[in-house]
Protein backbone atom coordinates (compact mmCIF):
# COMPACT_ATOMS: atom_id res chain seq x y z
CA UNK A 1 0.00 0.00 0.00
CA UNK A 2 2.79 2.42 0.84
CA UNK A 3 4.43 1.71 -2.51
CA UNK A 4 1.10 2.37 -4.19
CA UNK A 5 0.65 5.72 -2.45
CA UNK A 6 4.27 6.65 -3.06
CA UNK A 7 3.72 6.09 -6.78
CA UNK A 8 0.58 8.24 -6.80
CA UNK A 9 2.45 10.95 -4.90
CA UNK A 10 5.43 10.77 -7.23
CA UNK A 11 3.26 11.18 -10.34
CA UNK A 12 1.39 14.07 -8.79
CA UNK A 13 4.63 15.81 -7.90
CA UNK A 14 6.02 15.20 -11.37
CA UNK A 15 2.96 16.65 -13.05
CA UNK A 16 3.09 19.74 -10.84
CA UNK A 17 6.81 20.34 -11.36
CA UNK A 18 7.09 19.77 -15.09
CA UNK A 19 3.66 20.12 -16.62
CA UNK A 20 1.91 22.77 -14.58
CA UNK A 21 -0.17 20.03 -12.98
CA UNK A 22 -3.94 20.39 -13.25
CA UNK A 23 -3.72 23.93 -14.61
CA UNK A 24 -2.71 22.92 -18.09
CA UNK A 25 -5.76 20.69 -18.49
CA UNK A 26 -7.95 23.47 -17.11
CA UNK A 27 -6.47 25.97 -19.55
CA UNK A 28 -7.27 23.61 -22.43
CA UNK A 29 -10.78 23.09 -21.11
CA UNK A 30 -11.30 26.84 -20.91
CA UNK A 31 -9.88 27.46 -24.38
CA UNK A 32 -12.13 24.97 -26.15
CA UNK A 33 -15.11 26.30 -24.21
CA UNK A 34 -14.29 29.76 -25.48
CA UNK A 35 -14.03 28.35 -29.00
CA UNK A 36 -17.54 26.89 -29.00
CA UNK A 37 -19.46 30.21 -29.05
CA UNK A 38 -16.94 31.57 -31.54
CA UNK A 39 -17.58 28.59 -33.79
CA UNK A 40 -21.32 28.08 -33.58
CA UNK A 41 -22.29 31.69 -32.87
CA UNK A 42 -23.24 33.38 -29.62
CA UNK A 43 -26.85 32.19 -29.60
CA UNK A 44 -27.53 31.53 -25.94
CA UNK A 45 -30.31 28.99 -26.40
CA UNK A 46 -28.22 26.97 -28.87
CA UNK A 47 -25.22 27.00 -26.52
CA UNK A 48 -27.34 26.06 -23.54
CA UNK A 49 -28.70 23.05 -25.35
CA UNK A 50 -25.29 21.84 -26.50
CA UNK A 51 -23.44 22.65 -23.26
CA UNK A 52 -23.83 19.31 -21.46
CA UNK A 53 -22.67 17.19 -24.38
CA UNK A 54 -19.95 19.64 -25.30
CA UNK A 55 -18.45 19.73 -21.81
CA UNK A 56 -18.33 15.94 -21.76
CA UNK A 57 -16.61 15.82 -25.14
CA UNK A 58 -14.18 18.53 -24.02
CA UNK A 59 -13.38 16.54 -20.87
CA UNK A 60 -12.65 13.47 -22.99
CA UNK A 61 -10.37 15.45 -25.30
CA UNK A 62 -8.61 17.21 -22.42
CA UNK A 63 -7.69 13.91 -20.81
CA UNK A 64 -6.47 12.58 -24.17
CA UNK A 65 -3.87 15.34 -24.32
CA UNK A 66 -1.94 14.10 -21.34
CA UNK A 67 -2.58 10.36 -21.78
CA UNK A 68 0.25 9.76 -24.20
CA UNK A 69 2.72 10.86 -21.53
CA UNK A 70 1.23 8.50 -18.95
CA UNK A 71 3.84 5.78 -19.47
CA UNK A 72 6.03 7.38 -22.13
CA UNK A 73 8.41 9.26 -19.83
CA UNK A 74 8.77 6.23 -17.56
CA UNK A 75 9.43 3.98 -20.53
CA UNK A 76 12.13 6.33 -21.78
CA UNK A 77 14.08 6.80 -18.55
CA UNK A 78 13.80 3.19 -17.42
CA UNK A 79 11.61 3.73 -14.36
CA UNK A 80 9.03 1.47 -15.98
CA UNK A 81 11.46 -1.45 -15.75
CA UNK A 82 12.01 -0.55 -12.10
CA UNK A 83 8.26 -0.60 -11.52
CA UNK A 84 7.94 -3.98 -13.20
CA UNK A 85 10.70 -5.42 -11.01
CA UNK A 86 9.33 -3.94 -7.79
CA UNK A 87 7.13 -5.67 -5.23
CA UNK A 88 4.02 -3.79 -6.34
CA UNK A 89 2.14 -5.81 -9.00
CA UNK A 90 2.16 -4.03 -12.33
CA UNK A 91 -1.65 -3.92 -12.31
CA UNK A 92 -1.54 -1.74 -9.19
CA UNK A 93 1.20 0.41 -10.64
CA UNK A 94 -1.06 1.10 -13.63
CA UNK A 95 -3.94 1.84 -11.26
CA UNK A 96 -1.76 4.25 -9.23
CA UNK A 97 -0.68 6.09 -12.35
CA UNK A 98 -4.27 6.26 -13.61
CA UNK A 99 -5.40 7.69 -10.28
CA UNK A 100 -2.67 10.32 -10.38
CA UNK A 101 -3.69 11.13 -13.95
CA UNK A 102 -7.31 11.52 -12.90
CA UNK A 103 -6.37 13.75 -9.95
CA UNK A 104 -4.56 16.12 -12.30
CA UNK A 105 -7.05 16.06 -15.22
CA UNK A 106 -10.48 14.59 -14.44
CA UNK A 107 -10.92 16.05 -10.97
CA UNK A 108 -10.05 19.68 -11.82
CA UNK A 109 -12.29 19.53 -14.87
CA UNK A 110 -15.11 18.19 -12.70
CA UNK A 111 -14.69 21.08 -10.29
CA UNK A 112 -14.45 23.65 -13.07
CA UNK A 113 -17.38 22.28 -15.07
CA UNK A 114 -20.15 24.31 -13.32
CA UNK A 115 -18.32 27.57 -14.09
CA UNK A 116 -17.95 26.63 -17.74
CA UNK A 117 -21.56 25.45 -17.85
CA UNK A 118 -22.52 28.90 -16.59
CA UNK A 119 -20.51 30.50 -19.39
CA UNK A 120 -22.34 28.32 -21.91
CA UNK A 121 -25.75 29.20 -20.51
CA UNK A 122 -26.59 25.68 -19.45
CA UNK A 123 -29.97 25.48 -17.61
CA UNK A 124 -29.46 25.54 -13.86
CA UNK A 125 -31.26 22.26 -13.31
CA UNK A 126 -28.27 20.45 -14.80
CA UNK A 127 -25.39 21.79 -12.69
CA UNK A 128 -25.44 19.30 -9.84
CA UNK A 129 -25.98 16.41 -12.25
CA UNK A 130 -23.14 17.58 -14.48
CA UNK A 131 -20.67 17.73 -11.60
CA UNK A 132 -21.77 14.44 -10.13
CA UNK A 133 -21.76 12.67 -13.51
CA UNK A 134 -18.25 13.95 -14.27
CA UNK A 135 -17.11 12.83 -10.83
CA UNK A 136 -18.39 9.30 -11.47
CA UNK A 137 -17.57 9.08 -15.16
CA UNK A 138 -14.34 10.96 -15.76
CA UNK A 139 -12.17 8.28 -14.06
CA UNK A 140 -12.97 6.13 -17.10
CA UNK A 141 -10.96 8.55 -19.24
CA UNK A 142 -7.90 7.80 -17.11
CA UNK A 143 -8.58 4.08 -16.50
CA UNK A 144 -9.64 2.99 -20.00
CA UNK A 145 -7.20 5.53 -21.40
CA UNK A 146 -4.40 3.73 -19.56
CA UNK A 147 -4.96 0.74 -21.86
CA UNK A 148 -4.33 2.86 -24.93
CA UNK A 149 -1.42 4.62 -23.24
CA UNK A 150 0.15 1.28 -22.33
CA UNK A 151 -0.31 -0.09 -25.86
CA UNK A 152 1.40 2.92 -27.38
CA UNK A 153 4.11 3.31 -24.70
CA UNK A 154 7.53 3.27 -26.28
CA UNK A 155 6.27 4.33 -29.70
CA UNK A 156 7.77 7.49 -31.03
CA UNK A 157 4.55 8.89 -32.47
CA UNK A 158 1.92 7.26 -30.32
CA UNK A 159 -0.29 10.30 -29.74
CA UNK A 160 -2.54 10.10 -32.80
CA UNK A 161 -2.80 6.33 -32.65
CA UNK A 162 -3.68 6.60 -28.97
CA UNK A 163 -6.69 8.80 -29.68
CA UNK A 164 -7.92 6.31 -32.28
CA UNK A 165 -7.53 3.45 -29.79
CA UNK A 166 -9.25 5.01 -26.80
CA UNK A 167 -12.10 7.01 -28.34
CA UNK A 168 -14.24 3.87 -28.89
CA UNK A 169 -13.68 3.07 -25.19
CA UNK A 170 -14.88 6.56 -24.26
CA UNK A 171 -18.16 6.28 -26.19
CA UNK A 172 -20.29 4.72 -23.41
CA UNK A 173 -19.15 7.23 -20.75
CA UNK A 174 -19.90 10.22 -22.93
CA UNK A 175 -23.29 8.77 -23.85
CA UNK A 176 -24.37 8.07 -20.26
CA UNK A 177 -22.71 11.17 -18.81
CA UNK A 178 -24.23 13.66 -21.24
CA UNK A 179 -27.46 11.64 -21.14
CA UNK A 180 -27.73 12.06 -17.37
CA UNK A 181 -27.30 15.82 -17.64
CA UNK A 182 -29.82 16.28 -20.43
CA UNK A 183 -32.29 14.07 -18.54
CA UNK A 184 -31.92 16.33 -15.49
CA UNK A 185 -32.31 19.47 -17.59
CA UNK A 186 -35.46 18.14 -19.22
CA UNK A 187 -36.97 17.29 -15.88
CA UNK A 188 -36.45 13.52 -15.91
CA UNK A 189 -34.92 11.39 -13.22
CA UNK A 190 -31.22 10.87 -14.18
CA UNK A 191 -30.94 7.83 -11.87
CA UNK A 192 -30.74 5.18 -14.62
CA UNK A 193 -27.98 7.05 -16.44
CA UNK A 194 -26.05 7.33 -13.18
CA UNK A 195 -26.30 3.61 -12.57
CA UNK A 196 -25.00 2.84 -16.08
CA UNK A 197 -22.26 5.43 -15.66
CA UNK A 198 -21.23 3.86 -12.36
CA UNK A 199 -21.25 0.41 -13.94
CA UNK A 200 -19.02 1.53 -16.80
CA UNK A 201 -16.73 3.25 -14.32
CA UNK A 202 -16.40 0.19 -12.06
CA UNK A 203 -15.89 -2.03 -15.07
CA UNK A 204 -13.03 0.09 -16.35
CA UNK A 205 -11.57 0.08 -12.84
CA UNK A 206 -10.93 -3.63 -13.39
CA UNK A 207 -10.34 -3.74 -17.13
CA UNK A 208 -8.00 -0.73 -17.29
CA UNK A 209 -5.31 -1.93 -14.87
CA UNK A 210 -5.47 -5.57 -16.03
CA UNK A 211 -5.32 -4.85 -19.78
CA UNK A 212 -2.93 -1.93 -19.23
CA UNK A 213 -0.48 -4.09 -17.29
CA UNK A 214 -0.72 -6.84 -19.93
CA UNK A 215 0.07 -4.26 -22.61
CA UNK A 216 2.98 -2.81 -20.64
CA UNK A 217 4.53 -6.26 -20.21
CA UNK A 218 4.80 -6.52 -24.00
CA UNK A 219 7.05 -3.49 -24.14
CA UNK A 220 9.05 -4.63 -21.13
CA UNK A 221 9.85 -8.12 -22.42
Amino acid sequence: MSAFLALVRRDLLLSFRIGGGPFLGLAFFLTVTAMLPLGVGAKLNLLGEAAAGFLWVAAALASLLSLDRLFQADAEDGSLDQLALGALPLEFAVLAKAIAHWLTTGLPLTLAAPVLALMLNMPEAGYATLTLSLLIGSPVFSLAGAIGAALTAGLRRGGLLLSLLVLPLFVPVVVFGAGAVSAAINGFEPGAAFLFLGAVSLFSLVLGPVAGAAALRIHLS
Binding site: T152, L161, L164, L167, G179, A215
Partner: protein, 243 residues
Protein backbone atom coordinates in the same frame (compact mmCIF):
# COMPACT_ATOMS: atom_id res chain seq x y z
CA UNK B 1 -7.39 -27.21 -35.39
CA UNK B 2 -3.81 -27.15 -34.13
CA UNK B 3 -2.93 -29.81 -36.70
CA UNK B 4 -3.11 -27.10 -39.34
CA UNK B 5 -1.14 -24.65 -37.24
CA UNK B 6 2.13 -25.83 -38.74
CA UNK B 7 2.95 -23.36 -41.57
CA UNK B 8 3.82 -26.20 -43.96
CA UNK B 9 0.49 -27.93 -43.32
CA UNK B 10 -1.27 -24.59 -43.65
CA UNK B 11 0.38 -23.92 -47.00
CA UNK B 12 -0.65 -27.35 -48.32
CA UNK B 13 -4.20 -27.15 -47.07
CA UNK B 14 -4.82 -23.56 -48.12
CA UNK B 15 -3.26 -24.24 -51.50
CA UNK B 16 -5.70 -27.10 -52.04
CA UNK B 17 -8.70 -25.08 -50.85
CA UNK B 18 -7.97 -21.80 -52.62
CA UNK B 19 -9.22 -22.68 -56.15
CA UNK B 20 -12.53 -23.90 -54.70
CA UNK B 21 -12.90 -20.81 -52.53
CA UNK B 22 -12.31 -18.50 -55.49
CA UNK B 23 -14.67 -20.53 -57.68
CA UNK B 24 -17.40 -20.49 -55.05
CA UNK B 25 -16.94 -16.81 -54.27
CA UNK B 26 -17.01 -15.70 -57.90
CA UNK B 27 -19.90 -18.02 -58.80
CA UNK B 28 -22.13 -17.13 -55.86
CA UNK B 29 -21.38 -13.42 -55.88
CA UNK B 30 -21.70 -13.23 -59.66
CA UNK B 31 -25.08 -14.91 -59.69
CA UNK B 32 -26.29 -13.17 -56.55
CA UNK B 33 -25.35 -9.69 -57.70
CA UNK B 34 -26.78 -10.28 -61.18
CA UNK B 35 -30.04 -11.49 -59.66
CA UNK B 36 -30.06 -8.59 -57.20
CA UNK B 37 -29.74 -6.03 -59.96
CA UNK B 38 -31.79 -7.54 -62.74
CA UNK B 39 -33.81 -10.60 -61.77
CA UNK B 40 -35.41 -9.75 -58.42
CA UNK B 41 -38.59 -7.73 -58.15
CA UNK B 42 -38.64 -4.28 -56.61
CA UNK B 43 -39.93 -4.15 -53.05
CA UNK B 44 -43.52 -2.96 -52.74
CA UNK B 45 -42.51 -0.54 -49.98
CA UNK B 46 -38.95 0.43 -50.80
CA UNK B 47 -39.13 0.20 -54.56
CA UNK B 48 -35.87 -0.36 -56.40
CA UNK B 49 -33.82 1.02 -53.51
CA UNK B 50 -34.16 -2.45 -51.96
CA UNK B 51 -31.48 -3.60 -54.41
CA UNK B 52 -28.88 -1.86 -52.25
CA UNK B 53 -29.81 -4.25 -49.44
CA UNK B 54 -28.24 -7.17 -51.36
CA UNK B 55 -24.78 -5.68 -50.86
CA UNK B 56 -25.39 -3.71 -47.68
CA UNK B 57 -26.60 -6.59 -45.52
CA UNK B 58 -23.80 -9.00 -46.52
CA UNK B 59 -21.26 -6.20 -45.89
CA UNK B 60 -22.69 -5.63 -42.43
CA UNK B 61 -22.61 -9.36 -41.75
CA UNK B 62 -18.97 -9.55 -42.90
CA UNK B 63 -18.03 -6.52 -40.78
CA UNK B 64 -19.05 -8.27 -37.57
CA UNK B 65 -18.10 -11.79 -38.68
CA UNK B 66 -14.52 -10.75 -39.48
CA UNK B 67 -14.15 -8.95 -36.16
CA UNK B 68 -15.33 -12.10 -34.42
CA UNK B 69 -12.85 -14.12 -36.44
CA UNK B 70 -10.05 -11.72 -35.41
CA UNK B 71 -11.12 -12.07 -31.78
CA UNK B 72 -10.83 -15.87 -31.89
CA UNK B 73 -7.50 -15.67 -33.71
CA UNK B 74 -6.24 -13.09 -31.17
CA UNK B 75 -7.19 -15.27 -28.21
CA UNK B 76 -5.49 -18.29 -29.82
CA UNK B 77 -2.46 -16.11 -30.49
CA UNK B 78 -2.35 -14.79 -26.92
CA UNK B 79 -2.93 -18.11 -25.17
CA UNK B 80 -0.95 -20.50 -27.36
CA UNK B 81 1.46 -17.86 -28.69
CA UNK B 82 0.92 -19.21 -32.17
CA UNK B 83 2.41 -17.07 -34.96
CA UNK B 84 -0.06 -18.38 -37.55
CA UNK B 85 -3.02 -17.16 -35.46
CA UNK B 86 -1.38 -13.73 -35.22
CA UNK B 87 -0.95 -13.70 -38.98
CA UNK B 88 -4.59 -14.67 -39.49
CA UNK B 89 -5.84 -11.84 -37.26
CA UNK B 90 -3.49 -9.31 -38.84
CA UNK B 91 -4.40 -10.20 -42.42
CA UNK B 92 -8.14 -10.33 -41.70
CA UNK B 93 -8.27 -6.73 -40.46
CA UNK B 94 -7.91 -4.83 -43.78
CA UNK B 95 -10.55 -7.08 -45.37
CA UNK B 96 -12.89 -6.37 -42.47
CA UNK B 97 -12.23 -2.64 -42.67
CA UNK B 98 -13.11 -2.67 -46.39
CA UNK B 99 -16.41 -4.46 -45.78
CA UNK B 100 -17.22 -2.11 -42.88
CA UNK B 101 -16.56 0.94 -45.04
CA UNK B 102 -18.68 -0.56 -47.84
CA UNK B 103 -21.45 -1.27 -45.31
CA UNK B 104 -21.43 2.31 -44.01
CA UNK B 105 -21.41 3.95 -47.44
CA UNK B 106 -23.99 1.68 -49.08
CA UNK B 107 -26.15 2.12 -45.99
CA UNK B 108 -26.03 5.86 -46.25
CA UNK B 109 -26.77 5.69 -49.99
CA UNK B 110 -29.83 3.60 -49.13
CA UNK B 111 -30.80 6.03 -46.38
CA UNK B 112 -30.89 9.10 -48.62
CA UNK B 113 -33.85 8.06 -50.81
CA UNK B 114 -35.54 6.03 -48.06
CA UNK B 115 -35.07 8.12 -44.93
CA UNK B 116 -34.39 11.42 -46.70
CA UNK B 117 -30.89 11.83 -45.28
CA UNK B 118 -27.49 10.29 -45.90
CA UNK B 119 -26.68 9.85 -42.27
CA UNK B 120 -28.77 9.49 -39.18
CA UNK B 121 -27.25 9.05 -35.75
CA UNK B 122 -29.12 5.95 -34.83
CA UNK B 123 -27.79 3.11 -32.69
CA UNK B 124 -27.00 0.77 -35.54
CA UNK B 125 -25.11 3.28 -37.67
CA UNK B 126 -23.21 4.64 -34.72
CA UNK B 127 -22.07 1.24 -33.51
CA UNK B 128 -20.93 0.22 -37.01
CA UNK B 129 -18.97 3.48 -37.19
CA UNK B 130 -17.32 2.68 -33.86
CA UNK B 131 -16.54 -0.80 -35.22
CA UNK B 132 -14.81 0.87 -38.16
CA UNK B 133 -12.68 2.87 -35.70
CA UNK B 134 -11.80 -0.35 -33.90
CA UNK B 135 -10.57 -1.82 -37.19
CA UNK B 136 -8.50 1.28 -37.93
CA UNK B 137 -6.98 1.28 -34.44
CA UNK B 138 -6.15 -2.41 -34.73
CA UNK B 139 -4.38 -1.88 -38.06
CA UNK B 140 -2.68 1.20 -36.60
CA UNK B 141 -1.14 -0.86 -33.79
CA UNK B 142 0.23 -3.41 -36.27
CA UNK B 143 1.68 -0.63 -38.40
CA UNK B 144 3.19 1.32 -35.52
CA UNK B 145 5.08 -1.40 -33.64
CA UNK B 146 8.08 -2.68 -35.54
CA UNK B 147 8.84 -5.84 -33.58
CA UNK B 148 6.48 -8.46 -34.96
CA UNK B 149 5.91 -10.48 -31.80
CA UNK B 150 5.26 -7.34 -29.77
CA UNK B 151 2.92 -5.91 -32.40
CA UNK B 152 1.00 -9.19 -32.46
CA UNK B 153 0.44 -9.22 -28.71
CA UNK B 154 -0.43 -5.52 -28.49
CA UNK B 155 -2.92 -5.85 -31.36
CA UNK B 156 -4.40 -8.99 -29.80
CA UNK B 157 -4.93 -7.22 -26.45
CA UNK B 158 -6.60 -4.33 -28.27
CA UNK B 159 -8.85 -6.74 -30.17
CA UNK B 160 -9.89 -8.56 -26.98
CA UNK B 161 -10.57 -5.28 -25.15
CA UNK B 162 -12.57 -4.12 -28.18
CA UNK B 163 -14.73 -7.24 -28.14
CA UNK B 164 -15.38 -6.87 -24.39
CA UNK B 165 -16.43 -3.29 -25.09
CA UNK B 166 -18.65 -3.95 -28.10
CA UNK B 167 -21.71 -5.02 -26.02
CA UNK B 168 -21.25 -1.99 -23.74
CA UNK B 169 -20.96 0.35 -26.72
CA UNK B 170 -23.94 -1.33 -28.37
CA UNK B 171 -26.03 -1.01 -25.22
CA UNK B 172 -25.03 2.60 -24.61
CA UNK B 173 -25.80 3.79 -28.14
CA UNK B 174 -29.13 1.95 -28.13
CA UNK B 175 -30.01 3.63 -24.84
CA UNK B 176 -28.87 6.95 -26.28
CA UNK B 177 -30.88 6.37 -29.45
CA UNK B 178 -34.15 6.06 -27.54
CA UNK B 179 -33.26 9.32 -25.81
CA UNK B 180 -32.57 11.20 -29.02
CA UNK B 181 -35.29 9.62 -31.13
CA UNK B 182 -35.83 11.83 -34.16
CA UNK B 183 -39.48 12.08 -35.26
CA UNK B 184 -38.74 12.38 -38.99
CA UNK B 185 -37.06 8.98 -39.30
CA UNK B 186 -38.99 6.17 -40.86
CA UNK B 187 -37.73 2.81 -39.77
CA UNK B 188 -37.49 -0.18 -42.05
CA UNK B 189 -35.70 -2.54 -39.71
CA UNK B 190 -38.35 -5.20 -40.27
CA UNK B 191 -38.04 -4.82 -44.00
CA UNK B 192 -34.34 -5.57 -43.68
CA UNK B 193 -34.19 -8.63 -41.54
CA UNK B 194 -37.68 -10.08 -41.46
CA UNK B 195 -37.67 -13.84 -41.94
CA UNK B 196 -40.84 -13.50 -44.02
CA UNK B 197 -38.74 -12.12 -46.88
CA UNK B 198 -39.81 -13.48 -50.25
CA UNK B 199 -37.74 -16.45 -51.54
CA UNK B 200 -37.00 -14.62 -54.80
CA UNK B 201 -35.20 -12.03 -52.68
CA UNK B 202 -33.82 -14.39 -50.04
CA UNK B 203 -31.79 -16.59 -52.39
CA UNK B 204 -29.75 -13.80 -54.02
CA UNK B 205 -29.16 -12.28 -50.58
CA UNK B 206 -27.91 -15.60 -49.21
CA UNK B 207 -25.79 -16.16 -52.32
CA UNK B 208 -24.03 -12.81 -51.92
CA UNK B 209 -23.58 -13.38 -48.17
CA UNK B 210 -22.06 -16.85 -48.60
CA UNK B 211 -20.06 -15.60 -51.59
CA UNK B 212 -18.61 -12.78 -49.47
CA UNK B 213 -17.70 -15.26 -46.73
CA UNK B 214 -15.90 -17.50 -49.23
CA UNK B 215 -14.22 -14.44 -50.72
CA UNK B 216 -13.03 -13.45 -47.25
CA UNK B 217 -11.39 -16.83 -46.70
CA UNK B 218 -9.87 -16.81 -50.18
CA UNK B 219 -8.39 -13.36 -49.59
CA UNK B 220 -7.32 -14.29 -46.07
CA UNK B 221 -5.48 -17.40 -47.25
CA UNK B 222 -3.74 -15.51 -50.07
CA UNK B 223 -2.72 -12.76 -47.66
CA UNK B 224 -1.48 -15.21 -45.04
CA UNK B 225 0.54 -17.12 -47.65
CA UNK B 226 2.02 -13.82 -48.81
CA UNK B 227 2.90 -12.96 -45.23
CA UNK B 228 4.60 -16.32 -44.71
CA UNK B 229 6.51 -15.86 -47.97
CA UNK B 230 7.52 -12.35 -46.94
CA UNK B 231 8.98 -13.62 -43.70
CA UNK B 232 10.82 -16.35 -45.56
CA UNK B 233 12.29 -13.71 -47.90
CA UNK B 234 13.50 -11.77 -44.88
CA UNK B 235 15.16 -14.87 -43.45
CA UNK B 236 16.82 -15.64 -46.79
CA UNK B 237 18.06 -12.06 -47.10
CA UNK B 238 19.50 -12.16 -43.58
CA UNK B 239 21.22 -15.48 -44.36
CA UNK B 240 22.64 -14.00 -47.55
CA UNK B 241 23.88 -10.91 -45.76
CA UNK B 242 25.45 -13.04 -43.06
CA UNK B 243 27.17 -15.38 -45.54
Amino acid sequence: MLRFANPKKFLDLSGALLPWLWLGAIGLMGWGLYAALFATPADYQQGDSVRIMYIHVPSAWMASFIYGFMFIASVVGLVWKHPLADTAAKEAAPIGACFTAACLITGSLWGKPTWGTYWIWDARLTSVLVLFFLYLGYMGVWAAIEDRAKAARAAAILCVVGVINIPIIRFSVEWWDTLHQGPSVVRFENGKLAPSIDPSMLWPLLAVAVGCTLLFFALLFVRMRTDIARRRIRTLMTMKAAA
